[in-house]
Amino acid sequence: MNPQDKKTNLSLWYRNSSAASTLTILLILLLMSTALAIAAPAFLKASNLLSTARNFSAIAVAGIGVSVVILTGNIDISIGSIYGLAGVSVAMLMKSGWSLVPAVAAGMAVGGLCGLANGLLVVYLRLPSYIATLGMMQIVRGVCYILTQGYPVSGMADSFKWIGQGELMGVPLPIYFMVLFALVFAVFRNRTKTGRRIFALGGNEEATRISGVNTKALKILCFVLAGVCAAFAGVINASKVGVAQPTAGNGFEMDAIASVIIGGSSMGGGVGTVTGTLIGAAIMGVLRNALVLLSVESYWQTLVMGVVIISAVTIDQLRKARR
């Protein structure tokens, strides 16, 4: 192979490969972190790093879930409401005497059912996923309010706080959960038959169907997974705060979706990695932390987040367009 070929191959790889996309955003994350470490040395303190990671783990878990829906070329904007409903459900169940594990399992099942409803609406009523989940977003939020009459749910057994506030070997539990979800989903997406079929569906739905794949069931499954993950993220959050707010997760869907998009997934489907989503969530988390450490007025934070989302995706687009 002459050097010319090698160069072409490299640049081709750089433009096409998902790994290159992940590397690019990892670089962005490192640059941001370095700049922040210089501007505010407190950033590098272990306690700060761990709490930052703990804070973005809920976004990452929900992002990993919704990324599967995005992989099929659809979107789920009801995950913020599912996140809220799951927190409320688990809290209410525990208050009525359920113990932690069954309550959390039930909360995730509630999320899965919401996802099932989304999937059925999209597949059988042929609603665009944006519309179906926009409706579900309101319905599920309404259920939150009805169940709680608008009041926060508190007074659960102490075990409720374990998921969000517990630590193992000095590391907050949410970080373990985030890593666990990432590993399970990475294996699911890249190594299983179902995972492969989801990628294929996102690439070309008709061709996938003609290849003998039950694309309807597959799509529904993706929405269920997104619901389950959003529910667990909601549980992490409620447990971290110690109180389940019926309003929890308002706007959260945008954070989760943003982490997926920053992470290099294509809204058109078929492209994306779990690692990318994880880094995307980390970028959002580090940025929030930076704004706090640098005592930027909180009104500015929202604005800056928007700028970062647009910049990250633009950089990725430029990379693909490079000749």
């Binding site: 492969r196 690439g203 061709a207 003609i210």
Partner: protein
């Protein structure tokens, strides 16, 4: 009609190539004012390309076009419209969310002094045009509510509003009822009387003799013949259409025929297919001939569980098969290479390996998990067996040539070891070398006992590769032939009427 008059349109030596195909080869054509010229030819003969050059969609590589004796260039659709050429496509271009009047004047609405659209005038002018095509509808009616025939009339009215001197109609009658066709012909005759020239693309022989003054036959991109309708016969036209050489095409080797692998009885679908029955034995290749739109692909899609069936029974190896979705067809050992490989068969952004294993993931997996070694071995096997030219298994299929892409699609189904393989236009748009390889492969598969159904619009391919040939016409099976001794003319004769 009258040759002494000057032609309205004259094309001289028009050629057009696309990568790998010469779509038009030095075509000469004259169209006279006030005549109806029927343009006929097999699928792929070059009719659409010719039409697209006239409408300014494609640019010719060489040649000259004269309108009323003056050389013109038609670089884009607008200049072609201005020159007085209007095209009415088979897939009508009406904007269904707009009214009839808005459709007619889209992009050139009359403007009043206040800078807004002069709706009064638009309405008045549209009314006059609709009266001319005898369409008794309110100009404010939404186009979406019209029937296909009415939409066609709107398109004709639009063409008239451009003062079109030449109107090209691409298979205008294909979706019309008999009564609607008669209405259309009335209007064609009226246009003709006004001196408008009509180029009428059709597959229906009867219509040619009803409406056309002259017939021009395209074959493989060349003008095979032009003749006067009144002193020609259906047989003459057909023989001009099919004069293609069988030449050095691959011919299926003899294979022992086994039991009936697939039998379809009385298959009907809503509005499309009527009582279609056929069978194919293992080791046999059953060819499906017919014109585009005859329903051949629809039969295959319905059998494979892609489109719903209204009635009919499918038997696989003599037993009733309940095929309701594509996964069922797969389990019964049926494979399907669809007609459009990019839209229906390949995940273009996925690698060669992943495309090849997609329908056979169960064979390369342990439980839920894909065994990556087995997957690679499977892909390697087929890359070398089918001689797929790709730099690696990790190459994305979108970067392969058409022929190699098609081999990937065939490999995908071979990987599943099907008993029955349905191939819809398996060699369309691929180079001669790859075509031959695919023919050889089909022959080999048949010898190994696979039952093959081949849908093809190329008659030599059907005749060369098939043991038996089924001919379809307008959603029905018209008849069948044993391949020995059948001629292209006989098949075409059955396919067109």
């Amino acid at each position: 009609m009258s040759e002494q008059t000057r032609p309205l349109l004259e094309m001289r030596g028009v050629s057009k190539s696309f990568p790998g195909v010469k779509a038009l080869d030095r075509v000469d054509l004259q169209v006279y004012p006030g005549e109806v010229l029927a343009l006929v030819g097999e699928n792929g003969a070059g009719k659409s390309t010719l039409m697209k050059i006239l409408s300014g969609v494609h640019r010719m590589d060489e040649g000259e076009i004269y309108l009323e004796g003056k050389a013109v260039s038609l670089p884009d659709p607008l200049s072609s419209q201005k020159a007085g050429i209007s095209i009415i496509y088979q897939e009508l271009n009406t904007l269904n969310n707009l009214s009839i009047a808005e459709n007619i004047f889209i992009g050139r609405e009359p403007i009043a002094k206040n800078g807004l659209v002069d709706r009064q005038r638009q309405h008045r002018e549209a009314r006059a045009l609709l009266d001319e095509v005898k369409l008794p509808l309110d100009t404010q009616t939404l186009t979406g509510k019209l029937s296909t025939a009415q939409k066609q009339m709107v398109e004709v009215a639009k063409a008239l509003s451009f003062n079109a001197k030449l109107i090209i109609m691409d298979e205008p009658t294909s979706s019309l009822t008999n009564a609607e066709t008669r209405t259309l012909f009335d209007i064609v005759r009226r246009l003709k009387a006004r001196g408008v020239a009509i180029v009428f693309i059709t597959h229906r022989m009867v219509e040619i003799f009803q409406i056309a003054d002259r017939v021009a036959v395209l074959r493989d991109g060349q003008m095979a013949a032009t003749m006067h309708a009144r002193d020609t016969t259906e047989a003459d036209i057909i023989s001009a259409m099919v004069g293609r050489e069988i030449g050095d095409l691959y011919v299926k080797e003899v294979a022992p025929l086994g039991e009936v692998a697939l039998e379809v009885q009385g298959l009907s679908t809503k509005n499309r297919l009527h009582d279609v029955s056929f069978y194919v034995r293992s080791g046999e290749i059953l060819g499906f001939a017919g014109l585009v739109g005859a329903g051949r692909s629809e039969v295959m899609r319905a059998v494979f569980g892609i489109d719903p069936r209204q009635s009919g029974t499918i038997l696989v190896r003599g037993k009733k098969a309940a095929i309701r979705k594509t996964g069922d067809a797969l389990r019964y050992g049926i494979g399907f290479v669809p007609e459009d490989r990019k839209e229906q068969a390949l995940i273009l952004d996925m690698t060669v390996k992943k495309n090849m294993s997609l329908a056979a993931l169960d064979r390369v997996s342990r439980g839920w998990f894909i065994d990556r070694l087995r997957e690679s071995r499977l892909a390697e096997k087929f890359v070398s067996l089918l001689r797929v030219r790709t730099p690696s298994l990790e190459q994305r299929v979108k970067n392969l040539s058409g022929g190699n892409q098609q081999k990937v699609v065939i490999a995908k189904w071979m990987a599943n070891e099907p008993l029955i393989l349905i191939l819809d236009e398996p060699t369309r748009g691929i180079d001669v070398g790859a075509k031959k390889e695919i023919h050889k492969l089909m022959s080999d598969l048949a010898r190994q006992g696979v039952a093959i159904v081949l849908v093809s619009s190329e008659l030599p391919e059907v005749i060369g590769m098939s043991d038996r040939i089924v001919v379809m016409h307008e959603g029905r099976v018209k008849g069948s032939f044993d391949r020995r001794g059948v001629t292209q003319e006989e098949i075409m004769q059955m396919a067109v009427s």
